[in-house]
């Protein structure tokens, strides 16, 4: 016979009251947690000291592990290369044959690219940066797409600053500890970035979809003019994100919506650059808009 359940208190007053108070505390705890959530919704920077402390305590673990992961990923590839050398050789030769015509196309494209870039005044140099750091981990959450960066307020990182990798934009700093910070990735549902089409400067808004892709919505109504392969860069409208950082490339375009993939993959990017919040001088954006044909 199983022992009687502790949840069934019988006639003991003491046990009954104990159980009752337990439930009162639990419900009170839920209400308290709800209050914390309300604070989080209304003022996302609330409790930043506590959260920053926890972030500082845990980020070094991820950072240490990250280098181990990189090391093992490297050796794994090397061992694989050794064992599959022959088949790989044949495959590479085949790929080379196939790639030759593409190479010629690419050369033509490069010339065109250079001309277009010159037209846009797209500069590759990054003149002012707050700091450079590693992306060390991310939330495993179902809903939010947030990464952990190995630099915090001690390095001058402040909430709101844009973060980019060598290839393109990664996201925006959400909260900071002394030595680590959380970055809201482009693919998060709460991330909105004003972008423009490289081809003709059509303005659009890039919003994360939560599953690793980005939804690009044009600001002008009308037929969808975006095509697969189109590249978007930040437009600098509204400040925060400096202009002309590559953001996304379109993978699927239907008349209703445009799905794009971020150009910088935070899972593979080796280091991230934190930029100061972009505050355009008065009139600069208008001049830029006139410069784009």
């Amino acid at each position: 016979m199983p022992p009687p359940s502790a949840r069934r208190t019988g006639f003991s007053r003491k046990a009954q009251y104990g159980l009752f108070i337990g439930y009162v505390v639990a419900v009170g705890g839920i209400l308290f947690a709800g209050l914390l959530l309300v604070v989080a919704v209304v003022d996302p920077k609330g409790f930043s000291a506590l959260r920053g402390l926890a972030l500082d305590a845990t980020a070094p673990v991820s950072a240490g592990g990250r280098s181990v992961v990189r090391f093992f990923a490297g050796t794994g590839e090397a061992v694989g290369d050794y064992f599959f050398a022959a088949s790989k050789n044949a495959e590479l030769r085949r790929q080379l044959e196939a790639a030759r015509p593409r190479l010629i196309e690419a050369q033509a494209l490069e010339v065109e690219n250079r001309r277009l870039k010159a037209l846009l005044g797209l500069s590759r140099t990054i003149d002012n940066e707050v700091t450079t750091a590693h992306i060390v981990g991310s939330s495993f959450d179902a809903v939010r797409r947030i990464a952990v960066l190995s630099a915090g307020s001690g390095d001058g990182v402040r909430p709101g600053q844009p973060v980019r990798g060598p290839e393109g934009l990664i996201g925006r700093v959400l909260e900071t500890g002394r030595g680590a910070s959380r970055v809201l990735l482009l693919t998060d549902g709460a991330s909105n970035v004003p972008v423009q089409l490289v081809r003709d400067g059509t303005p659009a808004i890039a919003t994360g979809r939560g599953d690793g892709t980005i939804d690009v919505k044009p600001l002008e109504v009308g037929a969808n003019r975006f095509r697969p392969g189109d590249i978007f860069v930040t437009s600098g409208t509204g400040g925060i994100f400096p202009p002309n950082i590559p953001v996304a490339v379109v993978v699927r375009a239907t008349p209703d919506d445009t799905i794009a993939r971020p150009i910088a993959d935070p899972a593979r990017v080796d280091f991230a650059i934190v930029l100061p919040v972009y505050e355009p001088a008065v009139g600069e954006l208008e001049r830029r808009a006139e410069a784009v044909p």
Partner: protein
């Protein structure tokens, strides 16, 4: 291991193991979030929550509903959701389990799995709704793969917790 404790230290160690192993296991499961992997597509189950409900369903007498509060706070601090999210949702799930235990006369493996699936469903959509309130406007279909994977992974986690429990109570 010998059935008879050799020293006071052994007794103390067994005592600690018996009392705190479930808590430690849950905390460690929460720390899985610190793994240095950058995920861009939601697929990986929330191990902290899974281990928590596995312990709760295996040993209903062990934890009162309030236990979920500090554990949820820890998960909120480590894993990075808004403060209060796991605290509220985990405690609500525990209260729901208490209600279930009061109504059901017996449970078996399939009912446990069903209850866990309902709990995971509630938790995932709770997270989605809180994200929605915080301005993350994502399609609900995005969380479905992770939801399915979590429900399928529950028996594995339950097995693991069962093994830990056998070790915890071993003499």
């Amino acid at each position: 291991m010998s059935r008879i404790a050799g020293s006071i230290a052994d007794v103390w160690l067994q005592d600690v193991r018996r009392q705190y192993l479930p808590i430690i296991a849950t905390v460690v499961a929460c720390l899985v979030d610190l793994l240095p992997i950058v995920v861009t597509t939601p697929l990986i189950p929330d191990f902290g929550f899974m281990v928590l409900i596995a312990w709760r369903l295996l040993r209903p007498e062990m934890w009162v509903a309030t236990t979920a509060l500090p554990l949820g706070l820890f998960n909120d601090l480590v894993a990075g959701p808004p403060l209060g999210q796991s605290m509220a949702l985990w405690t609500i799930v525990f209260l729901a389990f208490d209600v279930m235990d009061a109504r059901l006369v017996w449970r078996d493996y399939w009912i446990d799995w069903f209850a866990a699936a309902l709990a995971i469903l509630l938790y995932t959509f709770g997270c989605w709704y809180i994200g929605w309130l915080m301005g993350s406007r994502i399609n609900i279909a995005v969380v479905l793969p992770q939801l399915g994977l979590s429900i399928l992974a529950y028996p594995l986690v339950a097995r693991l917790v069962l093994a830990l429990d056998r070790w915890r109570l071993a003499r």
